[in-house]
Amino acid sequence: MFVKRIKPYAVNIFYLLIWLLPFIFFVYNLITFDSILQIFNRNTFEIFIFTFYQAFISSIIAMILAIIPSVYVSKKDNFLSVLLKSSVLIPLFFPAVSTVMVFSIIGNFKLMEQLNFLYTLKAIVVANVFYNMPLFVKFAGESLEKIPYSIIEYSRTEGCGKFEIFFKIKLPLIYPALMKAFFLCLVFCFTNMAIILGLGGINYSTLEVEIATTLSGSMSYSSAFGYGLIQLIFLSAFNVLISSCKVYEFDDYCHVKEKVSLIETAYSVMYLLIEFSIVGLGVIFAFYNFYTGDFELFPIIKIFSVEFNRTYPVIQSLLNSFVISFTTALIVTVFTFILLKNTCRYTNAVILSTCGISSAFLGIVLVYLNISLDIPYFMLALTGYFLITVPFSFSFLYQPVLSFPKSLIEAAKIDGCSPLKIFIYVELPLLLPIFISSFLLIFAICFGEFTIAYTMQLINYLPTVPVVNYSMLSRRLFSESSALNGLNIVIVLSVFIIGEYLRKKLSFYH
């Protein structure tokens, strides 16, 4: 009885320890309380306000602009809706560094130059909105899809019009999903460093930028820790607030696809064109040198040459990124499943609290573990990637695992199945498609992860694709960097397509 009671807490505590122990070790050795207090001044307050302001404005605009494509996704089941849904991969795999590069080029177009686009708040917000709109399309679209058609029909019978149905019926029902997407978007905008540094310039600083500048400049780990703490506390509190939204469960799930207007279709096509044209430009730049105006196949061949790999280990980085991403994705998916089978009332807060961890600070903490305890970089990279991806896997698997029919498990138990057998013969076959999706999502996130790898200086010990790409970019090898970037996009898109294929095939059989 006692064991049964503490079992859920044990898993949660295990997760908490994985992320708290390294920080405690770092704080104990390097942080002084007095130095943390020094950061509580007007300057920090202004930085915090700006961090929140740009993240909030970007999230609101992204949410508004994503409403129509979300409605389209919920009403139609065609190629366009699949593409709209797949755009969610953009914020997860398209490197922020590449986004900055593309927007920098766009910002240098004559018209944009006249508008003073670059190095302004406009540039930050536009890039943030582009980067995060797909999150709303995915979450809101899927939530709208789940609204039973009977509810819409009742409303119509009661005399509700199109707009009344949307604002008074649909919007309140999808509110929790919208808030979830809003939280993720706010976290991405709150913690994104590359966009602020690359497109905002010196006039704009966020907590994450201050952390990175402090870590590499003044070496005041206490100040960086203080900034990180503010970020963590704020985002955790925000998460708790968002998580308190009531989720509506629909038992009689029956959704009928509806007609869409021409405006909805045109807007959705335009949205898709904008989103994918930015990514497409990333691929085009692999073959087209924007600055010289020449098409060249040479860079994509060059990055695989022996000579080039002596300085920039592209082949090794592809292998490393694959191994790390694969291992992390596997561990995270298995761990999240175990965790979801052992939830307690604190689970949500415990897991999503890691969303607020500063990746730059986490990177430094992990480096310190290597310096002090000689833990190899591979293990540390796995730990870092594990911590940042568990919240995503948790959000992804939450509904399918928790709503798994208990009657099936009970029936298997009556038939004398052990928990292992129940998992292998009952749960695994039914949940396999969603496991594959979660695995591929984590794989894609890890494959594109930059901040931790950069802060840990992995380029010297365990080069991964994003840091090798950055090293080429910072040495002004634009064509070669674009070629690797294009390859990166193709790899992740292929993974997504394979995943979708497997998911559909397996769903069909069951």
Binding site: N108, L118, Y119, Y291, I371, S372
Partner: protein
């Protein structure tokens, strides 16, 4: 519960196992921390003869700038992994010395160093190369030449700088303005602010903005003309250095203070002063060697001022933190 326990124990076991694997150290490996602009040392195979002669292996660990090397050393202070630090500028040297991570060492061939270049008090670091800072600019985009620092203040969103908090070039430019304007340096920066297009983390990103035409001028080095003529066969950018007040950047190499300092570390510091290395500095690092070696023909394009201005190490040590804070308050607000 049993499963969770098994999982926990396996994970900890794996962690410990990998930790013990990581502890294997090779005493014949020399770990050198250096800015990535020094990658030519490995790429050209210049150090191969040293490795062969001393039967050792050199592990080069690259950082974006010397500033990052010192930050890393502050983490490694109690358990240093590096044997040698390369590319320390005056400010990063002062910070590293203050941290207590440098070991005093005067190489046997130190007398080869041309006088005036040893700014590293008491051989806590050995000079390696030097060069002058300069403003480089695209004359066509700017529509004229630059003749003084005051001309810079007339520009509007055309100048790109490197952040003195994260870059040595940025730090040295800040010191240059302080040396030039004394107590009035802050009012110069206030006037300069409208001229700034953006401030980048490092030199490379600033240069790419100039190269792609996004910016018209940037703070760089007086050897840029020579570099462009050598690499692109034309002088793409003009170089401006005030005639009577240039600013010299001297870079040095240092031994890391640790319990067992390897003999090869000392030999490496000496090797960096050898003619073999020093003669390669101009064409690879685009700086001047600190010993008397024959310079390539292209070195004549280096824009040399008549005089250099300077600030003492003591003054920098005393004020650097507050200068950086004051700079940030002016430029970022």
């Amino acid at each position: 519960m049993k499963k969770i326990l098994n999982f926990t124990v396996s994970f900890i076991f794996l962690l410990l196992l990998s930790a013990s694997c990581g502890k294997k150290k090779n005493s014949n490996t020399l770990t050198v921390y250096l800015p990535d602009s020094y990658s030519w040392l490995k790429e050209t195979g210049t150090c191969k003869s040293f490795e062969k002669k001393n039967e050792c292996k050199i592990k080069f660990v690259y950082f974006e700038a010397a500033v990052n090397i010192v930050s890393r050393m502050s983490l490694e202070k109690s358990n240093p992994k590096a044997d040698i630090l390369m590319g320390l500028s005056r400010t990063t040297f002062i910070r590293a010395k203050k941290l207590g991570v440098l070991e005093k060492y005067k190489p046997e061939n130190a007398d080869k160093i041309i006088s005036g270049n040893n700014i590293f008090s008491g051989f806590y670091a050995t000079p390696f190369d030097y060069g002058g800072l300069a403003i480089i600019y695209n004359k066509n985009k700017l529509g004229g030449s630059l003749n003084s620092f005051n001309d810079l203040t007339d520009l509007r969103r055309e100048l790109v700088l490197t952040d003195p908090r994260t870059s040595t070039t940025g730090q040295d430019f800040l010191l240059w303005t302080i040396a030039l304007y004394g107590k009035n340096w802050k009012s110069f920066w206030r006037k300069l602010k409208p001229a700034i297009l953006t401030v980048t983390k490092g030199w490379n990103s600033a240069f790419s903005k100039l190269e792609t035409g996004e910016a018209a001028a940037m703070v760089s080095y007086a050897s840029d003309k020579a570099y462009n003529i050598y690499k692109y066969h034309n002088s793409r950018f003009d170089v401006f250095v005030p005639e009577n007040s240039g600013f010299k950047q001297i870079e040095g190499n240092a031994l890391v203070k640790k319990q067992d300092i390897k003999q090869i570390s000392k030999k490496y510091i000496q090797f960096m002063l050898s003619d073999k290395i020093q003669s390669k500095i101009f064409l690879h690092n685009w700086m001047f060697p600190v010993t008397e070696v024959k310079l390539p023909e292209i070195a004549k394009y280096y824009v040399k001022p008549k005089k250099y201005c300077s600030i003492s190490n003591e003054e920098i040590e005393k004020n650097l933190t507050s200068w950086l804070e004051e700079w940030a308050a002016i430029v970022t607000k």
